[in-house]
Each structure stands twice: as structure tokens, then as C-alpha cells.
Subunit: 277 residues, 6 copies
């Protein structure tokens, strides 16, 4: 159990050493987004970074610098505190950073993302896999820990709610003001309930997924910006979630370390007569 | 219960009449993709189009022309018969067609997609919602019918398998050759099983989703291109799935018709000081 | 004289067989465009597809899936029923599909286009020829049959008129309603007659070509959207035109088959020190 | 009959005066392209500029600065002396310059192009007409004078040949060295003659247009780069061609001056619910 | 003298309060770049962020989240530890973040950049000023403090040298290991000395600026990556530089606060007939 | 001392000869920009071209065709007579022309730019150096001659002023009307003087550089468009400046000729595992 290896905190010969000895990087992708009355706007970036550091401590993989801006669904736009970038810009940004990691010798890359817009990163890695010769995986904490979340939390994961606030309390309690954590049930779909899944990530897909249907921008209707009752959050719940998510990523990295030498990687780029990029 | 209204089969005054009387369009998005030894390469386009027609018959919404090319994950590349377009190209293509539908008076649009790459369409509609003033929803048959699929099929949905072949048998049995439907279990992840969800769409998200991790391109390892045992497919199973999926979309359209006048729509485009597009 | 080989209707092993035995693909590019009171909005796509099938029957070349959306000149915009995509989007779309055909083993490609905007496809193939190593040709039926058109028709080709309606009557009479085919001479240039060629494709180039000069958008002035007198159309005229156009393409493909092995092709991509794409 | 008004040679108050009194600009678009042993690489730019000046002298329209680089078909690439830009780059370049002309008060613009690649400019103006509120026309001298060319020349127009060399002799004889004008018939299509039109611009379109089919890059096969027999050129032939082409453009400009006030123009930009650009 | 206001550390109602009361944001743009044997790879990001916080403390302006990746000149590429993004990607990224700041109510924005590639940010703000209605300024510490640098340092500013290391020692001495700060004079231009300015930022421009001429990538020739003698650095020198640079930005912000109300700003976006973006 | 070698004035075999014997090209990049009441709008293009010719005469390097349009800072927009192109368009344009020069055998390229917006060209060459294998340098006359300017002129260089008008008088006196050269001191920054450097190029960088801060567009405030007192200009001053600038470029070219064979060049393109372009 070592110190986390933070790219920005070490010198280039130290980076080179990690690339030669392990060759695995964790890339934290956060966002700048309102998280209610009680959590700060940096929650996604903090979560991505803190989880990455915990994985680094246990594996020796390096933590690349955090991307502090992410793409957002249209209905996040218009809320003060949220700074979205276009999905098409994020795809190109991620492409370049992946190339930079590979050019520094890291050919196995875990994207630690803590922001809801997995579709953009999904689109990004599929396209980048056609362009860059490396292994990538996208780790999203609420997917990795979704069974644990159901076990320890009473409400499904949405945003700045019981689940996410618990993670914040586990990781950086000093930045959370639970005295302002008030319930907000004002976010109501304005099309029939049948066409909206009650929760995105922890329920079966039995209807139009909430992000597959355009609905009313939340800043018009919400008071706090944090749907549900964040007052249910505790550091203990958060710790259980964090440990589970970190555990999966650590096991993936240990598997990669055991199976591939530092400069080797599961080769996935397709061999084509004509490349797409 | 009328005839389907097919944009390409009618004249512009007829299109205009539908836009003025209903103002709802269904946009089928298919793909060109291998579907094993027993199903043709047009399955995704056929499914998108046939389901759209069934919805049109029951609702009077118009069926826009089918997009026959879609974007694909990197691991589809290299398989003969599959013709992918870049995700970034598909986003711009969908943007323009949505604009064209709106410019013809259709401001409520259901994208009927029957191809696996929901992430690109998800990315597309989120960006287009910032650009075009209209209502959009993405309908994916295996999401809409996922509980019915679990009820009638013994295996989870992947590709050209029991589930999808059943849909083909229900909709266009003459294009399926069940005598060639042989089992193929050769698609094995080459990273540890823990890190790959056993089935994408019908199981809980309890690990790295299969598409969030880059893994070996399927054309290198598969014999038929159709994972699982398509021999289990029947037209009856397919009919149950199709009816369920069509039912949800029909109910959404009836809800929209009841709630909004032809030229009106749930307004979702955010009002910003500075637009992104 | 065999059955047409339709990519979407056959399995991938069948596509592979054609690529190995002939290696020639026909790519139908249509559009979604108003065609007057009497012809449906899918005329361009239908023509591209039907002509492609006829060529396939006679040559064994494969018919790739139809592109149902095309780019349009600015003056088509605003007419209900027409769905244009930007020229720059179409160029990228065609680039990807050409790559997909080459990646499936088809290195000799005939684009069968039946939509007026040859300039975009011209631009597209010149750029793609710098990028993709294959042979391409763009076949436009009214160019291939222009002398036959002058022989059998009394009026020069414009749009949804005697010429094009005749082709529709020859290929899919059930989709044409001749009872609605009324004359429309309302499309008048609003700049001096000297600067507009009377008909684009069947007269000498003796003035500003009609598409080289921006003029009034047609939807503002036309009643039917079909300039001239479509009532002059007959299936017989159409058959003569179709047979002529199909004949030229068939002879080109037979020439290619005779001259080049399936995997070979007239090599045209320039060898440069620095590639442009 | 005045002096030509050259944007680059006058001050901004003088430009402003022309914009207020006439409001018509001529934009010369040339290229950098080999023109055989006997003509310089700037022929296209010289022709565009000289013809523009002649039109300016007779009409008072202003001559915008010449674009010295143009897009080229793939088969021009690889010839020393030719510097092509991508078609997609040229489209954006022309878009910006058109905007600049409009922003300086010129809303009626004649593009005087003297380079073969009309398809790119055609594509450009169709897209720009959706974006910029102005009138544009593309004038190509061999189209404007094609009947006169047939009258005075014995061979059809190709490149650096009897026709084009005659124009050079008429406009800048000091830059032509007729002692090096030798015949070169080495450019032979390598696909069957039936599929290639014998001359691009002065014959009926009765086959695959020469630019619609990809064929062998010319630098591999040609000796001089000037197909045909440029030795047939004379200044007299050139003068007849030049006078005819200039005459048409002058008449167009006089028509525009008579019909529209300086700040007015034939309004062509379509009014759409959702703009494409 | 207050606490710095860090966007990521506060809630959206707190961000809103700053936007309404001051309306000025500082955007730190750093990079990920090797800084020799003795300084960490995050120097540019740390400097941008620390200087921004000092300005915030003194002015009440908000510190937007740091951009941790920047564009780099070609000769930085290839050095382990450096992760460049393309200039064209950075321009779009900055555009979106500026829009996000404006959409959250901050219309006066100071970009605090601490990375050498001012040309990309210069290009970015000139283009963004045509697109977004706000006031922007780019503050670069070694420009703001260049006279002070000459006063306190014996060598001109290059990279990870006496000057920059002094700043690091002033701001975060715990991340610097002066025991590894060895002299490195191995970076020699391989074209004649006359054509290369001896120091980029602190001398007169009397020759080809070092960045206007392509020269040998530094990773091929340098031992440490830190040109000059970083051993000359002291925290005192750094403090003098930092105080000077911070002082100028503080005075600019006080000037803006005094002159413009929170929602007002020096209006700079040109009014054009046709916008460029 | 020979004749200048002008690409557009010579034939392709002559271009080929220069490429084989010297292999060095000069690319003049000008602009279309107002230059006050007394200088024409083509000053930047004329200066770039005339200086290039002088260098060619002395070195035998070839002069590529002039780019007559350049990118401009936002505050140039809106002035009649100025036609800016977007920086992102100029970058792609320069990329293509550089490729064209290399494809014609010129691998050592001097960009002779005479327009103020060095940031765009700086951005351009840094990106192009990652893409194209060649040597490039950007020569700007007022940088090359800045000490001479301070010696012979009484006022620092801005635009169309004593310095630039002197150059015009030295190179093409017939295009300058000194009778209209009146003083104009109306361009005043509307933010505090401390934050604006008094002159961009001839003073120390001791504050926010004038181009790093957005300020009032000049067309709103200036009378002539030529700041300062152009009446101080003389041909003698101009000749001294021109000779100095030409001298430096000549010496660079002689150095390159002496050090590298025609086809060789200082190799600068970095070798990367994954290329950026």
C-alpha cells in the first residue's frame, strides 16, 4: 500500500519509470456542474480524482491530470454553476490526451469518470479505438458499485442525492454542508410517466431510458438542483460504495499487470484495408 | 387501423397534410451489418423500418426514409458485410435530417433505431437538442420490450441470436434461413470474466459494461458472427417482442397527440445567453 | 440473366463470395425530395435502387444499401417533403461508405446516383480518390441516356417532368398518379433569360449554367413543384431511357470484369510525398 | 470606358464609394497549376484576374483580390508546379471571403473563375447561399464562350491547349513561349473509350463525364502536361473568346445595375424554421 | 483580504452570488509538461491556479476550474511526461468554457495562463471575440512581470529555469527538489545563431523569434529538459515575480469593477452584416 | 544578382529545375486590409510579394503565389476594405499549400508574412510541423528589422503609419498618395492605459500585450484607419528597413543552401508512437 502516483506531482523521469515498470494510467474525467445547495460544483472532478488516487495507492498505476470540464445533456444547460463543453469537443480532447498517454508509454488506460454522460465517453472510446493502438476501459463508480448501492442506500442514484452525497461525505466531508441538504422532488417529467424510467442506472431498462427522450430542462423546475433527499446520505454508505468501486478497478489493473508486460496490452485496434482516422 | 404513411411513397402535398394534421414523424435508423449465417445484412434497417410502419398504421405518424448506414463500435470493423460510418459523421447526418423534418413541419420526432449503438444516437440527440427547437425520443425495441424478452426468450439479447432472429422471423421470415442457424460460442472476452457484463441489455449493470471496455474484435474469433444459439428463435417469440415494443411507441405518440397540437411540442431547447451551436 | 444481388438481403458469407468472385459494388444514392403532385418524394431513391438492381441482374455486381438522403442546391430548401443534408456532410458520409465497401473487398465501385446534385458527388469522389485506394465512377441516368432522351422526349430534362416521370412509369407505375400530372410553367428566372440556360443537361453550355447562378427558391413561385408538362410522360419513353442508361453501366462493368481480376482495379490514387487526407 | 477598379490598389474610402454607388464585386479565383512547356503555372490566376479587370473597366464593378490557390481533381496531384488545396478548405475560404465582401457592402458578387474545378465552386455557392444573404454567380470563360470557341478553334477545350493558349496569347503574350508548344497526345484513358467523353465542356453529355470517373493521374503518362496541340493557338482566336466571355458578364452586371439599387440584390437565401449554417 | 473563491469548492447559489455581485471570472489554463529533473510535470497548472487564487483573494473574482491540458509547439512532442492537445482542439475547448462562464453570468473573463503557448490562446480569443459577447484578457505572468524578472534574475526566462523554478519555490516549495536542479546547456539550435533570438520573452525582437522557426525537437538533445541553470532559483526571486504579476491583474480587475457594473462589460464583439461564427 | 523566380510566371519544368537545384521556396502571405486614406488595401500583400522577390533575386529561391487573404484580430472586423478569413480556415489553407510545396520538391520553406496576425501563423506552423515533414520559418519584416526601425523612425510600428508607409514608399511609391496622409490619434484604449502596451512590436513586453486583451473595434473610433502620423514616412526610411529585413532572410537562405543539399532539410517533425494528424 503505497502513495498515489500523481502525474502532475512528479518529474518526467519518475513518470518514465512508471511507464516502464507498469505502463498503466488512470485518467480522471470530471465536470463542472451544480450539485445542489449542499455539495460543491466540483463533485464530479473530486470523485474522479479521489477514486483514481485510491486505485493508484493500491496498484502503482499513475494518475493523469484531471479533466475538469465534461459534456452534458442539453437539460443541464442553463443552470448557473454548470459549464458544459460540446460532446464533439470532448471526443477530440479525450483523443489527444489518450495519444499523449500512449506517447509517454502508457498503453493501458483506465478512464475513471464520475460524471453522468457516459454516452459521450462511450462514443469517444469507440472512435479512438479505431485511431490509437492501446487498451482503454471506462470505469464509472455507480455502475461498478450498483449492487452495493442497492444494498446500502434506500433510493436509486440520480444526482447530488443520497448516493452521490454519501460518496462526497466519505471522500471530502469538509466540502459538504449537510445543513443545506433539503429534499427536492420538483423534477417531474412533463410527459407521461410510462415513458420515463424511474432511475437511470439501478433499475431494469423497461421503458424509454430517461436520457433517450428530450424533456424539460431542470433549471426551469428545480429548486435545489439535487433531486430526491440528500439528507439520507452518510459517510458510511459512501465508504461502502467507494470501496466496492475501487475494488473492481484494482482487480482489473492487477489482472492487466499479471497478464501483460508493461509495454504490452490487449490489442484491439482493428486491422483494416482503409483506416477510418 | 390504417395504412402506414411512408414519406417516400407519397407526394409532398400528402406529406404537408400529415404535418398539419399530426406533425409527428418516425425516423428509422438502421445499419449495414453482418447478422450471421442465417440472417441478412439488412436486419437492423428492416427492423427499424417494419416497426416504424406498424407504429404508423396505428397512429397516423409519418415514416421518414430509413438511414441504412449507422455507426458501429470498433470491434464490428473488419467483418465482411458490415459498413460502419464514423460516429461524428452520423451525428451530423442525424442533425441535418432532424432539421429537414422540422423544416417540413414535423416538430415531434421519434427515432426508431434498431442498431446497437445507442451511445452515438444518445450523443447526437443531446447535441441536437441544443441546436434544433423540437422534441425527440430514441426508441430501441429491445429496451422497450426488455421485460417481455426475458419472459419469452431463454437467452439474453446480444446480436443475431434467439432474440433478434425471433424478431426477424416475425417480421420477414422469407429473408431468414433457419437451416443455417448454428450455435456459435466462440466470442470469448480475453480479459477476465469479472470485467465484462454477461449481456448488455437485459441484466443489471454490475460491472464494466461490455461496451465500456475495449476487447478483441469479433471477426478474429467468431465463426458465424451470431453469438449464442439462434436456432432457439421462433416467430411467436418475435411477435410478442414486436407487439410490446410497438405498443409503447404507439402509446407515446397517442400521448403526444392528445397533449400537443400538431405544430406544438414539449419545448426542451434551453434558452442561453450564448448558444453552443 | 440472374437475380439482383442485394447487400441487405443476403448474408455476410454471400457478400464475401461476391467480393471474391467479382469485387464490384453499385452504390445507389438517392434523396428525399418533392416530385410534384403526381410522383412520390422517393423518386430519386427508387430510381437509383431500381437501376442498380437491373445492372446487378445483368452483371453479378452487388447492390449496396441505398442512401436515402442527399445534398440539395439552396433553392430546393423550404419545399415541404424535401429533406436536404449539407454537402459537407454528404461528402463525409460517402467517404465512409466507400471505405466500408473497400474494407469488405469491393475495390471497384459504381455510384448510381439519380439526384440532380452531381456537383457534391463530383467533389466527393475527387477528394475520396486522394484518400481511399479504389476505383470509382459516378453514373447519372440522364447523362448516360441524354441522346436517347432527346430522341424519345419532346422536352428537355428538368425535374419530375416528361423525362423523369417516364422513368417512374417504366419502373414503378403503381406509385405514380398521372391524374394529378398537371403542367406548371410558373418557375421563371428572375434575372434576364440570357443568363440562364434553358435546360441543364440536354443543351449546349452556352451561358451561365442554371446552377452557377443563385436564383429564386422554387417553393416561393411554383404551384406543383414539377416544372413543364409531366402529362407527356409514358412508360415506353421511360423504358427506352432506362435501357440505355443501364446498358452503359453494364458495359462498363463487363469491361472492368474482363480487364481486372476481382481484387484488382484501375489504380488512381496519386502517390504523394505528403498525403492530403 | 474607365480604369479597372482594383480593391488592392485603392484605399478603403474608395472601396466604400464603389460599394455605395454600385455594390457589385468580381472575385477572381485562379489556381497554381502546370500549363505545359509553353505556358506559366499562373495561367488560371492570370485569366481570372485579366478578365475581371476587363469587366471592371466596362462596368465600374470592383475587382476583389485574386485567390491564387484552388482545389483540383485527384489526377492533377503529383505534377510538379501544381499546388492544390482540399475542396473542403476552398469551400470555407470562399465562404469567408464572400462574407467579407458582404460586410464591406457588396451584396452582388460575380465569381470569375478560370480553373476547371467548377464542381467545388458549385458546391461552395450552394452551401454559402444557405448561409450568407447575397447574390452570387459563377462565371467560367469557356462556358460563357463555348459557342465562340467552337467557331474559332478546331479542337475542343481541355487544358493548356489551342483554346486556353489562345486566351493566354490574347491577354499576356509575353508570358507564353510558343517555341515550346509541342503536341502531346499521350493522355489516354485506361478504361474503354466509350466511358469517357472526348471533351469535357464543348460536346454533348453522352457518356460518363470525364470527371465522373476516376482515371489514371496525368503526371504518370504525359510528357508536356498540355494535351492536344497548343501550337494551333493564336492571339486572334483568344481575343474572340475573351471578348465573348467578357461581354456576357458585362451584360449581367448591367442588368443587375439597372434592376437593383447598390444595396439591393436578388434575394435568394431560403427562409427556414431551422437554418443549416 | 478574503479567501479565494474557487468555483469547484462552492455551491451553485454561491457561484450565482459572485456572478451577480462582481461578474468577473479568472480562468486558469495550465498544461501537462515535463519541467526537468527537479520540478514536477504540473508546474504550469499549479502556477496558473495559485496565481488565480492570489488574485481572487484580493479582488473577490471567482476562480474557474483549471484546464490541465494545453497545446504545445511541435518541439515539445516526444518528451515523456508532456501531454499536448492540438491547438485546434484547445481553441474549441476554450470557446465552450468561455460560453459556459458567460452563461453563468460572468461576462468579464481573465485567462490566467502559465504555459508558453500564448499563440494558441491569442488565436483563440481573437476568434472567440467574434463569437461570444464578453470581455476577455489573457494574463501571462512572465509578460506581466518581465521588468521585475530582469531586475531579480540573472538569466532570461526560458523553461523550468532560474525564473520559473523561483516561482515554483515561492508558491509550492514542497514539490520542488533543488538537489536535482543541475545545469543543462545542451539545447543548441541547429541553424545559425543569427536566426534565433537568445531568449524569447525578455529581449528585443531582433531576429527570427525562436518559435517562428522550426528547429530540433528538444527531447532528442536535452538531458534534463530544463535549459540553463535552475540552481540559481530562490523563493525570494519567485516572490518578487509573483507579486508583480498578481499586482497587475488585481489592478485590472479593480479597474473593471470600478468602471462596469457586474453584468456590464467593455463591449468588443463587432457588429457585422454577416457573422463569422 | 539574378531575376526573381516567380512560380506563377514560369513553366513547370522550370519550377522542377529550381526544386532540384535549390529546393527552397518563399511563400508570401498578405491580407486584404484598409491602410488609411493614403495607402491601398493591398499593402500587406504587396509587401510580402515585393520582399519575397528581392530575396529571390539574391538567392535563387522560388516565390510561391501570394495568399491575398489573411486572418485578422476581431477588432479589424467591420472596417470597409478589410476582408478577414477565420484563423481556423487560414491554418488549413497554409497546411495544404505547404503540402503542395513539399509535393513539388520544396522542403525548406520561408513564409514571408507582412500582416500583423503572427499568432495565427505561429499556431499554423506548430501544428503543420506535426503533420508535414519539412523545414519552415516565418519571416516578419518588422521583427527582422526592429532595431533598424528604432534607428530610422521616430515612432514605433503600428499600422499604415510612419514605419509601414515608409516601406510602401520604398517599394511602390506610385500606389501611395502622401497628400492624404493625415495624423490620426483617435484610437484610444477604453481600458486603463496601464493594461495596454504602447506599441506592440518595438517595446518591451511589460504589460498586457495589446493583442492579449479585447478592446474597442477600431472602426468605431478611428477617422483614417491609420494610427499615428503617416506623414513622417519617407522612402529612405523604408529602404533601410527593407534592406535589413531582406538581408536577414537572404542570410538564412544562404545558410540553408550551404548546409543542406536541395532535397535535404533540418528534420524537425517529431517521431511519435501515435501521430496527432
Amino acid at each position: 500500500m503505497g502513495k498515489p502516483l500523481i502525474w502532475h506531482n512528479i518529474t518526467w523521469p519518475e513518470v518514465k519509470k512508471v511507464s516502464e515498470e507498469i505502463g498503466i494510467a488512470i485518467l480522471p474525467i470530471g465536470s463542472t456542474e451544480q450539485h445542489g445547495f449542499h455539495c460543491p460544483c466540483g463533485v464530479d472532478s473530486f470523485n474522479a480524482y479521489e477514486l483514481s488516487k485510491m486505485v493508484s495507492e493500491k496498484t502503482g498505476a499513475i494518475v493523469a491530470p484531471t479533466m475538469n470540464y465534461g459534456s452534458h445533456p442539453y437539460f443541464h444547460y442553463g443552470f448557473t454553476g454548470t459549464i458544459p463543453i460540446r460532446a464533439t469537443v470532448q471526443i477530440e480532447l479525450v483523443r489527444d490526451v489518450i495519444k499523449g498517454l500512449v506517447n509517454s508509454g502508457f498503453k493501458k488506460i483506465i478512464i475513471m469518470q464520475a460524471h453522468g454522460q457516459w454516452w459521450t465517453l462511450q462514443t469517444a472510446i469507440q472512435e479512438i479505438a479505431l485511431d490509437v493502438d492501446c487498451f482503454m476501459a471506462v470505469a464509472t463508480w455507480w455502475e461498478l458499485a450498483c449492487e452495493k448501492i442497492k444494498e446500502v442506500c434506500g433510493t436509486p442514484f440520480k444526482h447530488a442525492d443520497e448516493v452521490e452525497t454519501s460518496v462526497s461525505l466519505a471522500l471530502y466531508p469538509e466540502r459538504v454542508d449537510m445543513s443545506k441538504a433539503e429534499p427536492d422532488y420538483s423534477l417531474k417529467p412533463y410527459i407521461d410517466k410510462e415513458f420515463v424510467r424511474p432511475a437511470v442506472h439501478s433499475e431494469l431498462l423497461n421503458s424509454f431510458p430517461i436520457e433517450s427522450i428530450t424533456f424539460v430542462p431542470q433549471e426551469n423546475v428545480m429548486k435545489t438542483g439535487a433531486p430526491g433527499d440528500p439528507g439520507l446520505a452518510t459517510a458510511e454508505k459512501g465508504k461502502a460504495i467507494v470501496d466496492t468501486a475501487v475494488g473492481v478497478v484494482v482487480r482489473l489493473i492487477e489482472f492487466l499487470k499479471k497478464t501483460y508486460k508493461p509495454g504490452e496490452f490487449p490489442r484491439v485496434k482493428p486491422k483494416l484495408t482503409e483506416d477510418m482516422y
